[in-house]
């Protein structure tokens, strides 16, 4: 039970296509099975979520050249290691797939970007790159919701941190008030101790 509001409008259960059109981007935590089509090319995967719209198509006919151009552009901008835009995306490493999935969402210029554990299983450098990109988005005025269990990561870049327990949002606090101990306590179902206020 509950509602999802975007700019005050109720968008509960509107479906993926509608959410994308409303300007919500989502980077899945299952990049191999949900985020990408392993056997399809990098270019096809880059166009996956907006294939029915310009520039990738006119709604009926594909514009393969635009798909390839966009893929080359994102490969260069996000420094993706791939032999080329026609390589099946499943041939790339997890980090490079993750970069492409993030790049694909950012290219759609979302108002709200939800990232689900974007650094899981990545090497440190790629993880840092992903986190930095998210921070840049937030600095540019976008809303970024980062879902993660890496507390260091959250404490490094978040403006505000919320804690979920048993499906409930139990606390939201500015980063200055958050430390691993407080967050850990809340994550285990504890209540928020007034220690900070007293200090």
């Amino acid at each position: 039970v509950g509602q999802v509001l975007l700019d005050g409008r109720d968008i509960t259960n509107r479906g993926v296509a509608a959410a994308t059109r409303l300007g919500i981007g989502y980077v899945t935590d299952d990049r191999l099975h949900e985020g990408s089509v392993a056997e399809s090319s990098v270019a096809d995967n880059v166009a996956l979520k907006s294939i029915g719209r310009k520039p990738f198509s006119n709604g009926f006919w594909l514009n393969r050249r635009a798909m390839e151009e966009q893929a080359r552009h994102l490969i260069a901008e996000f420094d993706v290691k791939t032999p080329g835009p026609h390589t099946p995306i499943g041939m790339l490493s997890g980090g490079n797939i993750q970069k492409l999935l993030l790049a694909r969402e950012l290219a759609l210029d979302p108002k709200l970007l939800v990232c689900n554990k974007p650094t899981t299983g990545l090497d440190l450098r790629t993880a840092q790159f992903i986190i930095r990109s998210l921070r840049e988005q937030a600095d540019a005025g976008k809303v970024v919701v980062l879902i993660a269990s890496e507390l260091d990561e959250l404490l490094e870049i978040s403006d505000r941190i919320g804690v979920m327990y048993n499906g409930q949002l139990v606390a939201v606090m500015p980063r200055a008030e958050a430390d691993p101990e407080t967050l850990g306590h809340l994550m285990l179902g504890g209540t928020r101790r007034p220690r900070k206020a007293m200090a």
């Binding site: 993926v16 392993a38 390589t87 499943g90």
Partner: protein, 382 residues
């Protein structure tokens, strides 16, 4: 090994050709076991099937329905939908076409009559695919079972209809009214091959364009390769699944209409050409690539026609060709296994080339992790 050194878009064909060669060798062993000389048999197959005008003409006539049926099957298999009901859809389409054609014959110009019959055939095949389609999309019933079962329903329903409601009352055997020979599909100028072959070629080219250049084809491919990703990308997965099944049903019906208008002239109660199985062999040998259907359709047609021409004089059962088709599919499955062991992605560089899991079932149910081993092997680690 040359494939690893020189990956080209034709590389996947080597697997198909190897499967065909292996099937022919195995078939030869069976012939030898029956005391026939396999080399002489195959020589006769080639000289009669490829070397006589009759053989070539019959082969080209047989190609038409195979092309249409397999183009339809290719649409559904690319979308991960297993339409095993081609034969039933074809029968219903053929019956619809036979009835529609005789109902308007003589009252409208022939081309209009052909068009009406073709549309009626497509509607018949589509309706027969609609039942499993709705069951699949609404209640998640596995279409492999339902389309297969619908074949038996079609067989009996059409044979009942042709014994009663739509029977030609002037003759004894259960059949629809005969379309007079001069009103059937004309031959391509200068040949004995009716124009159905051209329809088949056009259908194959249209399907190639569908997958290479249209949004719908792109989305059907995504649904077939990774259903979860299609849902995640906001594609109308259920509608696409239904569309794939209906398209292949409609094309099966069109193939039925083709045979009625071009070859038979009427629908007979005991007629069941069984193109469905050949279509499966064809689509897999062509590696789910529409244009490659053309040479393979010619080859399989040649096998059927040449096989008949060879079997009778040599005293070999005509079932021999069906056995060869089955052996080809078996050998193909084994060959793709070897291919995957070596390199799962070596051949998917071209956009229209079939998916890497061409040899195994595209997952018919949501969440079936067909791609998992491939994806894990290729990109699991960062």
């Amino acid at each position: 090994m040359t494939r690893a050194l020189n990956p080209s878009r034709f590389a996947p064909l080597l697997t198909s050709l190897a499967a065909i060669a292996a099937a022919l060798i195995l078939g030869g062993i069976f012939l030898a076991m029956r005391g026939k000389d396999p080399l002489a048999a195959y020589a006769m197959l080639v000289t009669r099937g490829l070397g006589t005008p009759y053989g070539i003409t019959e082969t080209l006539i047989r190609m038409a329905p195979l092309l249409i049926v397999s183009a339809g099957l290719l649409i559904s298999l690319r979308a991960g939908v297993w339409n095993i009901g081609i034969d039933g859809q074809l029968l219903v389409g053929a019956l619809f076409a036979g009835v529609a054609a005789t109902a308007v014959a003589g009252q409208v110009p022939n081309p209009v009559m052909w068009l009406i019959a073709a549309l009626a055939g497509m509607v018949g095949g589509l309706l027969w695919a609609l039942v499993p389609g709705i069951l699949r999309v609404r209640w998640g019933l596995n279409e492999i079972i339902t389309t297969l079962m619908m074949n038996y329903v079609a067989l009996n329903v059409t044979s009942w209809l042709v014994k009663g409601p739509v029977k030609d009352p002037d003759v004894v055997p259960p059949q629809t009214r005969l379309i007079p020979r001069e009103m059937r599909l004309p031959d391509i100028a200068g040949t004995g091959v009716h124009v159905g072959l051209l329809v088949g070629l056009v259908v194959v080219v249209l399907v190639a364009i569908l997958f290479r250049h249209t949004v719908i084809g792109f989305m059907l491919d995504v649904v077939g390769r990774n259903r979860l990703a299609a849902i995640h990308a906001g594609m109308p997965v259920n509608r696409l699944t239904l569309l794939a099944l209906l398209a292949s049903g409609a094309l099966a019906g069109l193939a039925g209409a083709n045979d009625i208008l071009g070859v038979k002239g009427l629908f007979q109660g005991n007629w069941n050409p069984g193109y469905g199985f050949a279509a499966f062999a064809l689509v897999y040998l062509a590696r789910l690539n529409s244009l490659w259907l053309i040479p393979f359709a010619y080859f399989l047609s040649f096998l059927v026609i040449g096989g008949e021409m060879m079997a009778r004089p040599l005293g070999i059962p005509t079932y021999f060709v069906e056995m060869l088709e089955g052996l080809m599919l078996l050998c193909f499955a084994v060959a793709t296994w070897f291919e995957r062991m070596r390199s799962p992605f070596a051949h998917t560089d071209e956009v229209e080339v079939g998916p890497a899991n061409a040899g195994e079932p595209p997952g018919p149910m949501v969440g079936e992790p067909v791609l998992e081993p491939v994806a894990r092997a290729a990109g699991g680690q960062s």
